[in-house]
């Protein structure tokens, strides 16, 4: 992953369709300490082959939704990111 400046290693979790496409339930990646959520999502999407469902994905950071993808997020070593496809609970 092309990154400039300091990077941290974080966990990435995949669920449902994204888990099947990524072919793994979890992974670890290096990401910039400071990044716009949409850019982060795009990086993860291209890295794990999720382009087919890209437009329906949202991100969760440390078990909280990133409500606005244009927000800047600050990451720490060992943080947990989750790729959330459309929900179907109930």
């Amino acid at each position: 992953m092309s990154t400039e400046g300091p990077v941290v290693n974080v966990h990435v979790l995949f669920f449902a369709k994204s888990r099947e496409l990524a072919n793994t339930p979890r992974s670890k990646v290096d990401v910039p300490v400071e990044i716009i959520a949409s850019d982060l999502l795009d990086q993860l999407v291209s890295r794990f082959g999720l382009t087919s469902i890209q437009n329906s994905l949202i991100l969760a950071h440390n078990e909280s939704y990133i409500e606005n993808l244009s927000d800047k997020i600050l990451l720490k070593e060992g943080d947990e990111l989750a790729i959330i496809p459309p929900l179907s609970g109930g």
Partner: protein, 368 residues
Amino acid sequence: MDHVKLVQVPIDITHIHQLLADEGCGASSVFVGTTRNNFQGKTVVSLAYEAYDNMAVKEMNKICSDLREKWPDLKHIVIYHRLGNVPVCEASVVIAASSPHRSEALESVSFAIDQLKTRVPIWKKEIYEGDNISEWKENKESFRPKKSLSAFNYAACPCKVEESHDVPRSLVQIRVNDAELTKRLECFVNKKRAEINSQNVIDFKSPLVDSDKDFSDSCARTQSTIIKQEQSNCHLKVRRVNNRCGPQQMELRPNYEFELNKLMGSRDGVTDPSKEIRKSLPNSRLQAIELYMGLTTDNEENIFSRIKKVENRMLQLESISPEYRHFTNLEPSSREPPLPKRIKKKSYSAHELSVFIQKIKDGREINE
């Protein structure tokens, strides 16, 4: 009390009732979501649920606190969700609430299931009978990325910004590459051009065409006459534009076609008079000549062939009777030989004659 749980085994409804029981509560509402056995004509065998466990429990707890905020009288709240493989007709989710009066219990449970479908990270996959490929379901209520953000992939448009021109990203409204920006600018310019063009068309059209439009504020260019306003004290010399030939004044100008048609003899000024002329001309003059020449012609005949006939007739008459041309000559006097001039003869006296002779004599002497 809040009871929130993700379970791998069938949910026991009687256990839920026990959790809800409270002496002060006159109502308990229980919603049980069960798995359907069909989807779009395909038979569903079972559903496989998975969850982002920690976050799901977190979100379910958030729903509980939301409910308590909205309906403070609620006593107990239960949210149980089953995970793993759930055969059809079995409960996948149970949401229950107890309260002193029924409305809180009923309303809160309804609200809670909507919230659960919207934000609790749980997914189900329908497994169908036969060879149908199993599908991940999507709740229509599901939390989704905002359309405006998903519609455009900013990352696909890398925008290199020089350090010296770095602007805080929160202040930048448009993040596109040069090609996209150029395209947008072009579109904008084209749109503006089209707007101006259409406005000009309206300005330069005769107002009679659509008289409902107000032309007082039109900025159409005009050929205007400037007339100095009388008794104006302004040092700027205020003048009034007397617009006589601008596009708005088009209807005030003479209609040349109309006038011309009138001159040409059209009674109403609209019809082209050349047809009438074609009829009236032979009827009056040419017909008179033909009559004089003893020719019989058809009015509908081509005018040139009729003239040709007249000419032939004249040549023929000239050849058989030369004096006839005097009749047809426009200026017979000029053709006639001039009348013989009467020459006035001068008479000389004897003295004059002798002087004349002397002159001749002298001349001869000089010459000799």
